[in-house]
């Protein structure tokens, strides 16, 4: 660059040539990608950005049962809801922080559990196996069962005394018939187990897709170099599926964090504190107690919390970009 001029302009000036105006065709070509984005961007604006702006606005108002009939004129309360929920001695700090903790624990534990199961299943069904197509389809069953059905099934499994879980544990002398899965500390484990059962096929699918892209030659080469199956897994398989697996785990964590249906159906709207996850807390505050301002503020907090894995996700999504 010389001053404000581009290198081309500078060179042209030196040699005394007139710089040609950009050609019309080139400008149109530059505009084309933006033009193609307009419909999706407009849709995103209407479906995501405007509601998000409204949520942010509502979080600053005292929108409740008294003002819902004229919600555009709900009183402005500033950051009161955030202070109530986040200040060290705020009246709702305990509830909000407990929910953030419950959501993080639930999502991280579930993701940690489904990773080895999903990868293991993918490795198993990637190789030659009789009835592989059928088994692969069966593997997907938990994933395609509607979440509320899954929740009802697991609620029945964990029913105190009469549930299958207690029956089996008692028969194997591993626990009592009164383990209380749906209340108290075990509620978190009940939720994690139910979600692991439903969610592991997601990791399995992603890992399987990644495994199928690995050329056999690499394994042949590893074998010639003397690598066994374990060594080949750590040195060939895992590095090559890692980008896809990383993406799967981030997406999975976000999905679990935002899971509302499973805890809602399993525990109802007065859940044990161990499973009073953030989406459930937001729902109760917004739609059961009509405190929409507080519910919106909690949603904004949830958004901020989820930005961390979202950033990781965006970085992971760029894997393979050449820019």
């Amino acid at each position: 660059m010389i001053g404000n001029r581009s290198e081309t302009e500078a060179t042209a000036a030196v040699v005394g040539l007139r710089v040609a105006a950009p050609r019309r065709g080139r400008g149109a070509a530059l505009r084309a990608p933006f033009g193609l984005m307009v419909p999706s961007l407009a849709l995103l604006t209407v479906v995501v950005f405007i509601p998000m702006a409204f949520a942010l606005y509502i979080s600053l108002t005292g929108l409740n049962q008294y003002t819902i009939g004229d919600w555009l004129h709900a009183p402005f309360v500033g950051v009161r809801h955030y202070v109530d929920g986040l200040a060290p001695n705020g009246p709702l700090t305990g509830s909000l922080l407990n929910s953030v903790k419950a959501s993080l624990l639930f999502s991280l534990l579930t993701t940690a559990a489904i990773t080895p199961i999903g990868v293991g299943a993918a490795l198993l069904f990637n190789g030659p196996l009789r009835g592989r197509a059928l088994l692969r389809a069966i593997m997907l069953l938990p994933y395609i069962i509607p979440t509320f059905v899954n929740a009802i099934l697991w609620r029945l499994v964990f029913m105190n005394g009469s549930g299958v879980a207690d029956q089996i544990l008692a028969a194997l002398h591993l626990g009592s018939r009164e383990t209380f899965w749906l209340i108290g500390p075990n509620a978190l484990w009940a939720l994690v187990i139910a979600d692991v059962w439903a969610a592991w096929p997601f990791v399995y699918l992603m890992a399987l897709a990644a495994l199928q892209t690995i050329p056999d030659e690499l394994y042949d080469a590893a074998t010639i170099d003397g690598a066994g199956r374990t060594r080949a897994f750590w040195n060939v398989t895992l590095p090559l599926i890692r980008p896809t697996l990383g993406l799967a785990l981030v997406l999975s964590t976000i999905n679990h964090f935002n899971n509302f249906t499973l805890p809602f159906v399993m525990f109802g709207t007065s859940p044990p504190e161990q499973v009073n996850v953030l989406p459930l807390n937001i729902y109760v505050n917004s739609f059961i107690t009509f405190n929409f301002g507080l519910g919106a503020a909690m949603s904004v907090v949830a958004l901020v919390v989820m930005l961390t894995p979202a950033v990781v996700y965006l970085r992971a999504a760029r894997v393979g970009d050449t820019d």
Partner: protein, 461 residues
Amino acid sequence: MSNDGLTRRSFLKVAGAGAATVAFPTVLLSCGQSTTTPPSTSGKPKPGSISMFISKDTAHPQEQAQLLDMIKQKFESQFHGSTFTYDTYASADEELTKLETAAAARQGPDIFEFGSTLVPTAYATNAFEVITNDLWDRVGGKKIFFAPQLTMSGPSPDKLIAIPETANPFAFLYNKKLFQDAGISRTPTTWNEFIETAKALTNPAAGQWGVAMAPADGFDPWHKIWLFGIQKGVDLMDKTGKKGLLDSEGVVTACAFWLDWMAKFKIASRQNATFKGADETKAFATGKIGMSVMTGPGGIVSFDKSPVAGQYAYTTGPTVPYGMSSMPSAGKPAQGFVSGQYLTIFKYSKNKDLAMELIKIIVTPEIQYQFFNLRKQQPVVLETFNKYAELKQTPWDAFYQAELKAYPTPFFGSWGQLEVVLGQAINKMAAQVGVSGSYNMDDLRTALKQANQQLQASINS
């Protein structure tokens, strides 16, 4: 640098502004455009379509459809050219969501049916028509109704929004056979007697318990704590509705008394810690539960088809607080709170006159009787009790008596929040009892203090 191509920034500006221009009017137009006109006080209404949003009677779905069909036929034959449709909700969550959506969008059914404790919330939304004296006269006047029911129709006599439809009185349910087997000749009248009776009925080895309870239910905790409180003169909120009293010593004691049924007195199974209302009914139907406190008539149909058929009865329950020999001066001999279903007219309805006519049909003694006959619900129109003697016969006589001793819950818009936070505190403590067999009193105080803080934050917002 000049560039006649579209930059990324200018593109975002244009696209964002364009989308907002399209979206905002759409959003705003959908809200706040409705106007309201009160129903007229005389004259025959023009033909139209009436829609009603009502709770689903899961115990009697076919009978409910039959009753609604009866109402439809009456209405459509009386108002030629008009139609009646209805939609049902199966849960309180659905009921709330519909109320919120309708109030915010100012669009919804012409008539909403609400449970009594949701009427204050509905009133707070200002989305329902105030029933003036002229309008009451159109359905026969306030005098035709069972007076206690009107106490939950609005905050004051000039601000009533809800017309009573049916009552859901609470009575004391007991197993006559278990009482007989244990040599007990009468039901308890004080809570001290109740504990002693329950102990005599309890035999854990045989799976038999003095009482069943449902602390994991969304509603049962506040029902019971409210009952123990009001009998002692203890309020859950102050008279202004601006201050929660959930952490008061009176409420702590009331909660402790209920939890002690499992923890200290051992008259209820620890299994009850996970019970919701339906589980309590199911447990009583096995014939191994001696008593059930503050119970509605909803279980009659299932009891009559269960091992407890012919062995159960309803009566009035204890009123003298635990540890006392007589009612304290501030206490009230409550059997339950004023409960039932109410009909409200949506303020933004375009068929308010027709809606009033439909309600008039619903509160005729003939239709009121069908609520009882088909759905086992107690009518609220006095004439129905005079016309149909069976309404005062066993077991309904107990409900009639109980209804006379029903007291209204405070008419505050934030009552719904109180129900939730108190329920959560009790759920938490019941879980502690379920898992360990006992609870820590300090934990109970902390849970109630947190609940009160949440309630207060909600009231202040």
